[in-house]
Subunit: 411 residues, 4 copies
């Protein structure tokens, strides 16, 4: 809020309606350490918003000459909304950077493991094999997408200056010029109209933040599942991480869990922002006030989630041997689809399907492999998982190629 007041004073001086010395004096007094947040919060309760006591306290620190120009032409909502946007501006680049780091690490994993076979798992049951690189490429794609969305959202952040009811009337004919200078001073967009009660920008930002948190949460969930004692295909490496002195075997994936937690907190906060779009006329009686704590909380959740997933991916240790061991748990039964494919040229698709289906039944009943059951029926197949990876490596290459062609940094 103080940055908004300082920018307003300087913008007014830029336009020539406030003396530069007054603006400089105001700006110099706009230092957070000069004020007592707890006292201001107490006064805000009676005033109905925190800008009123802050402007009072700011004014009290100034010479009469400067005091006359504080907050000129603005209303409380101009200051509070601009402050909300500035909080977003200070948060988003870090979130985008963390997501970018996470995506870079996922890209490196995708490249390294483009042909590392592991069990595909649908409904948490083993299905046909995939490669760990393909899984990592999917993480990368999602992370790049949400990073790009948040960078766009950051770029669209707009200053708020409309005066008491959006007409800038207290600034006479200079309103639009001051509003433009105000936005320029803050490095924010200058919208055609002030957006006192048009919350589409903030609501869209909230949605984008929740999608970003959700994307990190999905990856965190995959890591938690891979790190299960009974799966053991990946874990978060690091001295003393998530350990326990009397549980020496535990390697709790604490960063992945933090990413999951962020993904779970975001939707409710985003829903609040979305449900608060109904701002009455020129200033809302409740919906606006409900945003004050919600948007910062959501920004914090998204930031925590991005940092956590970057951390989790950064320290992810992958165990290809365990992946292969798990792939062998069910023998070659998950490869039945491959058997159909191999027998189709000779038998036709329908017959191939029937033959494999029957062999599957016999294999399960007899405790043998599908390969043996088919051989007993006179058919030869090769059901090594690494020969049924389909287009996984090609898809990884395509995703990495698409990434580099749009210029996304890739470590």
């Amino acid at each position: 809020m103080l940055d908004a007041e300082a920018a307003l004073a300087q913008a007014s001086a830029d336009v020539g309606i406030v003396p530069r010395e007054a603006a400089d004096e105001i700006a110099a007094a706009c230092r957070a350490d000069l004020y007592d947040p707890a006292a201001l919060a107490g006064e805000a309760h009676d005033a109905g918003n925190p800008a009123i006591p802050l402007v009072r306290a700011l004014t009290a620190r100034l010479s009469p000459a400067a005091a006359a120009h504080v907050h000129r032409g603005a209303t409380s909502q101009d200051v509070i909304d601009t402050a909300l946007v500035l909080v977003a501006r200070r948060t988003l680049p870090g979130v985008v950077a963390d997501l970018g780091r996470a995506a870079d690490r996922a890209a490196a994993l995708a490249r390294e493991h483009r042909t590392t076979p592991m069990a595909g798992r649908t409904l948490l049951q083993q299905a046909v094999p995939v490669t760990f690189g393909l899984k990592a490429a999917g993480w990368m794609t999602a992370l790049d997408a949400v990073a790009a969305s948040l960078a766009d959202a950051d770029d669209r952040l707009a200053a708020q200056l409309g005066g008491a009811a959006g007409t800038l009337a207290a600034l006479g004919d200079d309103g639009p010029a001051v509003a433009a200078a105000f936005a320029r001073r803050l490095g924010l967009r200058a919208p055609a109209l002030s957006w006192h009660t048009d919350r589409t920008r903030l609501a869209a930002l909230a949605g984008t933040l929740a999608v970003a948190a959700g994307a990190g949460g999905k990856i965190g969930l995959d890591i938690v599942l891979l790190a299960q004692t009974e799966v053991g295909e990946a874990h978060e490496a690091g001295e003393g991480r998530g350990g326990s002195s009397t549980m020496p075997h535990k390697r709790n994936p604490v960063a992945a869990i933090a990413a999951v937690a962020a993904g779970r907190r975001a939707p409710g906060l985003a829903a609040t922002m979305l449900a608060c779009m109904g701002h009455e006329h020129e200033r809302a009686a409740g919906a606006w006030q409900a945003e004050w704590a919600t948007l910062p909380a959501l920004l914090g959740v998204a930031a925590d989630g991005a940092a956590a997933i970057a951390d989790a991916l950064g320290r992810l240790a992958v165990d290809p041997a365990r992946m292969r061991a798990n792939l062998a748990l069910l023998g070659d039964l998950p490869l039945a689809e491959a058997a159909v494919t191999q027998l189709t040229p000779a038998l036709g698709r329908a017959t191939a399907h029937a033959v494999v289906e029957e062999a599957c039944r016999r294999a399960v009943a007899g405790g043998t492999s599908l390969t043996d059951a088919l051989r007993a029926a006179g058919h030869r197949v090769d059901l090594a998982p690494e020969r049924y990876l389909g287009s996984a490596p090609a898809l990884v290459d395509a995703a990495l190629q698409a990434r580099s062609s749009v210029g996304t940094t890739d470590a």
Copy 2:
């Protein structure tokens, strides 16, 4: 789902791995009227998804030659996800068009009423005057923004084809080619990777739909408030609309209310989509299934909301005389800010402020106008509301100008 199966068959024929006659036969059988949705729903319960019984029923209608090629290379999720996207594709253009119509009407109101004075209202208390055109311009800006976001979202809709676990393994080396042809056939984007468990696209769409519903809800709320018996500045015109035979005075703003209702339903549905991003590995056990009813419901809510706000704005009758009468309710007290502005050149800002504050107290205590109270103190001001509209008309012009320069249609 049938459209997805038909497109898959034809795409496979395009690539040369399925005979064209088989594809044609499959496509001909992909007509919804040939199937019994209730029976399929019953079987879906046991199967775990609706694609399994549908493929079974589709296969049963075909010659053996064609039957061998049904659903080839695909998994249930390919069909269901693509079907979800196709529902979005069929819904979004209509939503965008309705929002565009609403924005056009708001633009016309903004132009017509750029200087029509009315009370600005903050926290539902009268504040300084605005123009109805400025209010309508704010509506227009929000509607244009959400229409553009939804058009973008529509443009980004992507087909889903990944096979059992995303590797397209059952299609041998032809997977990527079939996936590309499949998307081309459906007029959807062909993503680098299948997005079985990367729900960023759907979640972002959900957020955008909720923002659109919320934007309409805000406008609907403004209309409901303007239509209050005690305010009466606007109403929805139309024979028999929202009337009642023994309540002949009532003019219920039913379309605006429907827009408000849509704005209230959307956030919870969007939150469900956001909270369902945590899809495990290659297919989710619960989060995916929860999307099936939720996204269509949200599309329906957004569509209802867009149609309702277009309807409400289309029939909005505005009463400038009542606006002016309401402006006079508090006399010239809401113009105190204007008095300060007018006295500042002569008195300096600080003194002007003190003089007006004192006059306000006297006016309230004495039941006189602020103008009279100031005159009694030796100061002359002109507090006609139409001379304190600030930059309202200029802002309206700027918003309309910005609109036409980006080529948005404007009736």
Copy 3:
């Protein structure tokens, strides 16, 4: 809605203000099959609610003598709100029964497996052992709790009759008597006041439904996790359930997944109901209308979830041998806490802790068991998991005892 109209007519006859023959004629016309829902929905759009066209259609079917008494004293909201409550009344007993069946089955599992050891899992990492009976007892307790809450909610369902604005004015002095008779006819509570815009009852019901769905979702999630290929400790038994002809090894836990999905859909719907409590004055302009589709959807989700978890538990097949095998995966390392406990009497707690911690390190480093590492250091412990189940069996007994003492049915 028709049931509400019929009850209103009969209640008015009970009080003596409508002739019984007219009431009987009205009631006879209140059969859903006589009306065209699609046509009514169309008219509802313009009228603003579905009760207006329904009353019109109902009236049109009656003799003039009876027609004069249709809907007498009531407003649309009386009919729609009462109808919402009747939908709840028809749904809740089935949900309570399904939850009761599920709880009975969980109780049976708890009793059967009160001492069956399995790995406790925290953060999805193996921790100290539990018994499957203890896990099932936790499920039982939660299911009993939500069933009891929903039974209470069902018992509190109240009829709505207030007339145009809640004063029952059109009924003269007979209003309260008619309202009481109306509630009696429907088997609903008769509240002191009509609750047109006091939505605490419905919002509390929504919360309770979501808690019930969430309780089922937690159990479903546990089952999905137990059914993982790599864990394999439980599965849903049943011919052709969740199977696949070419994935013969898959045993998709489709009922558990449906319970998870219900648990994921409910919170957003409940949030909508909670966010819709802000009903303006005597009838809401948007918040009420948003409830119409939301509460039935939530009732459906809760019903689906309850049926699914009853189904999942009913067919749950448990594999104690696999539980024991999984318990052995980490050797005796998860029993370090037991080692401390056993050594404490001799060494004191602090020294025992230090000794075990050091032995843990050596065991992990040397690939030996903790027992051996301790023995090498001169300490003897017995780290069989079945001797470190703590109070698990006693807790199961206590939970079953608490259940039977409150008279909950237990199969």
Copy 4:
């Protein structure tokens, strides 16, 4: 958390497994001012939860003899969950008291204004008259209901003690006795089973908190609407409340607005708690961690909302003259229903309805009153609003009577 550790030590001494002196020493060290929350938060990040560094810091302050007994038998979740419950315990009585004060004030308003006529408003259009007492009685009923629900929830708060995986194994056979003593020490319920991953209690509490916030929000909304400049039937009295030096006419209903804002924040937070019920096995990997900030936030929102609505009602100034003036805005047209009622004995209901409908049309067209239009048609009616209040006063009496009979305090 420190209170939980102290209670655990003392409970263990009560049961005889920890020396009393050690317990006393531990308890004495459990003072929040001895620890550095920021430092603990930093360590919590790596440890995965805040209990681990707290126990470490607590232990470091103790003699070796006492240190050996810190946190004995407990796991981090026991401490954190119990701490969450203790936060609820400290918050809820104040919330219940504020809601009770608000209800008392609503009861006083209901009694005072049981016959004060005002416009009933449906869809924000004037409908038949109500009394302000009836509106206040509706507020009272809702407030009493949510206060009672929260008092029940407070009464059901349960301690958490289960040890590493819920078996209390580290306490040998003393587990249940320690758990009982632990609950007793804290004044909390001792559940049959620990509820590590059964979140039904917390989720139900969250729902109840949101319903309470929503009930206050509805009343706040009514007050905001009554306080509109154009309505002016009530305002929040108080020196300098929500005022503005140059907006001397504004009387912003800041407390009511705060209640509305609380009502808008609660649903999203409650949805997060509901969506976090899916706790895996014996400790959740993400869903639990997401609760830590959410439940306290929701408790705070409910507390703010309760305090705000008590404040708003406590200072509510009602203007019966303005109510009557607003009632006259539409003349006697809103009384058409009364006219039908008065003419029914003579004309029969159907004819009476037709006659009044025709007269309504003429009155609107001719700009006359309905009384005059009916008189011109030969019918005499008395359409004074105070004679068409229906059962409003009786309903107020019944609600007040129901209140006093259940012993709710009434000022």
